[in-house]
């Protein structure tokens, strides 16, 4: 079960595709922090990928940090290995950090269930939005851009208009 709204960001220190370890404290200068449960192999992630890249670029100068986290069992899902993560990030020039949660500890702490699945934390690092990036994996059919709406609201000092939505995607691939 996912963490409740208002819950403080779980602590983490994970290796990134840039070759550095990234800890929660490293993002302390960000106004908002979006942890996105992510991976390489899932068609739902791939369907939303361009939109997440665009969002990260659009908000980068407003001190919003997007951090993708792959927690899948890469022994069973080879496409989700750390090496393949590096290749994917380089191929698409990810404008966000892409971290490998090999122990699955962060996914467990978040109660993550799907990829993609967003956990948006405010400046005090409390969960303010949880769920889908928007309301359709088909870009042409998007009516509500939940994550953008939540970011815009928080930047304006308001409540996100929608604080929780259902994440539609692949299941997190837990180790046996």
């Amino acid at each position: 079960m996912s963490i409740a709204l208002g819950t403080v960001t779980p602590s983490f220190k994970l290796p990134g595709v840039d070759g550095n370890d990234h800890a929660l404290g490293d993002f302390s200068d960000a106004k908002l922090l979006a942890l996105v449960q992510y991976c390489n192999h899932c068609p739902y992630v791939l369907a939303w990928e361009d939109r997440l890249i665009k969002l990260a670029r659009d908000y980068a100068e407003r001190s919003i940090r997007v951090v993708a986290v792959n927690s899948n069992d890469s022994a069973r899902y080879l496409e989700d290995s750390f090496e393949r993560m590096k290749e994917r990030a380089e191929e698409l020039d990810f404008p966000f950090d892409y971290l490998f949660d090999a122990s699955q500890s962060l996914a467990r702490a978040l109660g993550a269930e799907r990829t993609p699945e967003v956990f948006l934390f405010d400046e005090e690092r409390r969960l303010r939005y949880h769920g889908a990036i928007d309301d359709s994996r088909d870009e042409d059919a998007v009516g509500r851009s939940y994550l953008r709406e939540a970011i815009d609201a928080l930047l304006a000092g308001e409540e996100p208009p929608v604080a929780e939505t259902e994440s539609v995607g692949c299941t997190v691939k837990w180790k046996n």
């Binding site: 192999h41 899932c42 068609p43 739902y44 791939l46 369907a47 990928e49 069973r76 899902y77 080879l78 994996r137 088909d138 870009e139 539609v168 995607g169 692949c170 299941t171």
Partner: protein
């Protein structure tokens, strides 16, 4: 025979089934869709299941390119005519396989 093989861990098969039923109706066909749940890696291997959903018409995968993927309990990747990625086959792929 039209078979739809699926894995419950992937949420895309109801949408694929609904689209397949719609395409069948539009083509004036009343074929039954044989639903087969794939529950284990062993079953995926035995059924040559490259991911969910997999649709076969008379034993032939409607997406020949993806049919040779490694058997696995996973969501299958399809490519739409507009180049985008989708977890379900396109209407065009279904129509082509059923004509």
């Amino acid at each position: 025979m039209i078979e739809l093989l699926y894995w419950e861990g992937c949420p895309s098969h109801p949408e694929a089934k609904a689209l397949l039923e719609q395409v069948l109706a539009e083509l004036g066909r009343d074929d039954q869709i044989v639903m087969t749940e794939v529950r284990s890696d062993e079953e995926a291997e035995r059924l040559r299941f490259p991911g969910s959903p997999t649709i076969r018409v008379d034993g032939r995968d409607i997406d020949a390119m993806g049919a040779s993927g490694r058997p696995s309990l996973t969501c299958r990747i399809y490519h739409l005519p507009n180049g985008r990625v989708s977890p379900v086959p396109s209407r065009e792929q279904m129509e082509a396989a059923l004509r």
